[in-house]
């Protein structure tokens, strides 16, 4: 039941974050969204991810967004009214995103019908590869935190990729906005 309320809160905050015109407050709300998400995930037994989400989603992302806001505009600009040549076409164009979103949503909902129900221990995802890690990771890697074991050893290469990604992001930002040395 708690999960339900948490999820509900998530939806509310998401909607607020998207709709409010004051971007700063929507950033703050986004931060709380991430925190609640983290709480939810602890309830889903994924402590590491929760930890990370709290640190990144609520922490770093918020920092970055605020930093960016401080250099741009805090208040969302009013959409300017441009009379278009084909008003009807324009209206359709405005509706297009909604259609796209609803279509995607419909497909996803459709797919849930065949999904193993939530929290089912017998779900294939929990049966095929995962058990191996739980049995073997300690004897094979000597690491008792399975997540770390997989992260660093079994799928260590993904982690290398992950670090490369954030490194790339770092250089990209430097390339994009580092002030030129004269």
């Amino acid at each position: 039941m708690i999960d339900f309320f948490l999820l509900f809160f998530l939806v509310i905050s998401a909607i607020f974050a998207v709709t409010t015109r004051d971007i700063l407050s929507s950033v703050i709300v986004l931060g709380s969204y991430s925190l609640v998400m983290a709480v939810l995930w602890t309830r889903f037994n994924s402590v590491d991810v929760a930890f990370t989400e709290a640190a990144v989603g609520a922490g770093i992302t918020t920092f970055l967004l605020i930093a960016a806001l401080s250099r741009t505009l805090r208040i969302e600009e009013e959409p300017e009214i441009r009379e278009s040549v084909f008003p009807l076409f324009q209206r359709l164009k405005n509706l297009l995103p909604l259609f796209v979103v609803l279509a995607t949503g419909a497909v996803l909902v459709y797919s849930t019908l065949d999904m193993p129900s939530f929290g089912d221990p017998k779900a294939p995802a929990n049966l095929h590869v995962a058990p191996y890690y739980i049995e073997k990771s300690v004897p094979e890697t000597g690491v008792v935190n399975f997540v770390t074991a997989i992260l660093a050893s079994y799928r260590g290469y993904d982690t290398l990729g992950e670090v490369t990604v954030i490194f790339t992001a770092g250089i990209c930002v430097i390339l994009l906005i580092r002030r030129r040395k004269r």
Binding site: V18, M37, F44, L65, L73, P97, G119, P139
Partner: protein, 129 residues
Amino acid sequence: MMIELIQGKYVYWFYITLMMIGFYAMIAKGNLIKKIIGLNIFQTAVFLFYISIAVSEGSTAPIMLAESYGSLDAGTVTYTNPLPHVLILTAIVVGVSVTAVALALVIRIYKTYGTIDEDRIARLEQESP
């Protein structure tokens, strides 16, 4: 029947809802930072999906309990499937990286155009390409 359908699926439906909210913001909002906020919601929703794959009733967090350290096997306790957690750890990092780059671009755009509203930028582009 209906009940257990809902019980079994409601988390998925929530993640879909969240994802759609973010998605909409990404493609419909005119403000570039709003798009990025949408992007974060969008991605987090997908992470939620992954995490909810891993959940299984009556399991504990995927860290071997102290009592079973000695005997090098999992013992009787069932642990939550750790693999999706790993994937999402990676995905979160990717998410923040993308956000960072996007924000850097937005800062540049604001410096160049003095606005972060799509339509205004488009107009400025038309006026002086």
